[in-house]
Symmetry: C2
Subunit: 369 residues, 2 copies
Amino acid sequence: MSFTVVARDGAARAGVLETAHGPVQTPVFMPVGTQATVKAVSSADLTAVGAQVVLGNTYHLALRPGAELVRSLGGLHGFMAWPRAILTDSGGFQIFSLRGRRTIDEDGVTFQSHLDGSAQRFTPEGAMGVQAALGSDIAMAFDECPPADAAPDAMRAAIDRTTRWARRCLDVAPARGQLRFGIVQGGTDLGMRRAHLAEIAALPFDGLALGGFSVGEPPPVMHAAVTALAPEMPPDRPRYLMGVGTPLDLLICIAAGIDMFDCVLPTRNARNGQLFVPGGRLNIANAVHRQDAGPVDADCSCEACRSYGRAYLAHLFHAKELLYYRLATLHNLQHFLDLARGARAAILEGRLAAYVAERRRPLEANLET
Amino acid sequence: MSFTVVARDGAARAGVLETAHGPVQTPVFMPVGTQATVKAVSSADLTAVGAQVVLGNTYHLALRPGAELVRSLGGLHGFMAWPRAILTDSGGFQIFSLRGRRTIDEDGVTFQSHLDGSAQRFTPEGAMGVQAALGSDIAMAFDECPPADAAPDAMRAAIDRTTRWARRCLDVAPARGQLRFGIVQGGTDLGMRRAHLAEIAALPFDGLALGGFSVGEPPPVMHAAVTALAPEMPPDRPRYLMGVGTPLDLLICIAAGIDMFDCVLPTRNARNGQLFVPGGRLNIANAVHRQDAGPVDADCSCEACRSYGRAYLAHLFHAKELLYYRLATLHNLQHFLDLARGARAAILEGRLAAYVAERRRPLEANLET
């Protein structure tokens, strides 16, 4: 077994996922490193904020610099000098986002590269082959991602194809020590979700993911669906909620029994001037920060909060100085990683409900979405 | 005395400049932090590459965020969290670069802000007042910077005014412990340079700077002028060659007796893809680097060279990833700082000529300009 649940608190779990590059303590938030870099920060920075596992993006890396080049340079770990765990997505989400520039058939998807318009093709076998070349610790199955508003027939067809593709993914030899996760689709229809979960859970994946959430549905709808579904997922395998989410999403879904999360929110919003604090979010462009010598969050241990004041970050942001992007990213990552780490500690001590309630109240009062 | 020469080797000197924020060992290269940040790197990064003193830009900081705001936030040291020495230029060079957007009179210069077009005015007293508010360790006198191709009469008039302004600068009370440097102008005309040097050297400045070099004249012309002038500068005060230069410039001018340098070359060129190596420069965009797992410089101790290969830097550069700019900047700064540090060690051991010759040969063979 690569996954061990070490404690439970209500539906929530604290666990340890063993990977070829060390253990990952769950619940865990995984920073997104789309192009073999978590935008604006280095591998030493990721270590400093306590990241245990980062994401790589199969679609982007296959197009640039190319999977075989990465393999020849020591795989993604050697290429980006990241010694801990890496999860690669399958590329499915990006490719299916290329509406009008991709055509699906039973064997796979043909699409146009966003870089140069060249014709490209991904199949389940190809996507797993790319992930084997990248040498990630966790490879995701290549799924068809139906739009959130897909009609029931279209949703069912996408689900059925995702199951057939999942079986084909498992027929491909993984990289040495590489774990493979299956993806459950079905939108917000619990019936379809449960049917698909049963199909994917029956396959010998090392973990299961919920895809197709946080794609435009109202957060309470997602929270309700995940709260219903997570406890029905196999208890002995890690549960990964893809592309989610806000601090509020994390708190609610950890309580529901989700173990793993990823989202571009902390990194992307940092670059746009939005910094996460215990009570919600602040916009560093706001005039109130211009003369404030105090840190973004006095309780935060990131380099930005330890060394610099809000006024300095505001100045860097207004002046479009490169240092802003790194400091803001470090802060937001620290906030998300600490939130998940704190939840784990609370689960181990049987006080998750209080941990969630204490943090949830100000977030909801500030109408965080 | 704030400056002590601890060793001589030919015309070159190794010295220690005592500042309110610690000693600066010369010869020294000073990274340029125009807007209270050396572009792309943090104060911890500057410490890691061994920077002893950084520049702040009076013109830029007066316009944004404003000198009084910086004063209220602990001065430039507190604002940018830099515990070591800071030198501020006077703003003269930037203001005189605003041709067509500034008018000079005997009292000072009126100009349009490059940020919003608003009318602004700098006088010798005002420029020193801003530098006192910024709290730099070394303040530069406010000089008139004549263009390199100024006619002799215009050059003479600028020099005379610079001397009158230098006297006015010295009448302003500096910040506590702040040193003040005078600036010698005169283009490449040695007669005018010598006359102006005599005037400025007669004033009680803590150090003397050569301004108006590296403004378009051929490098050999600058090298010849500095080699003639530097030994004639007061031996008991630090000698600062403003805005210079390339590694070759540094080697030649350290041998001539210059103690301090600043230039945007390492930081700006890093962002454009040009990385400095012992034999010259490499362009990371060059196809030859795409599959090269080796570091930019195996002998360099910067984070980029310790952790990452050329192929990874090339990937980041092509993908316009923010991490590239920081890693490239760290590397180029390390290269320049190590070059000056190495020269100091060579002076202390009486082997500067060999140090310069060994490094000069490949640089000249590669036609570095």
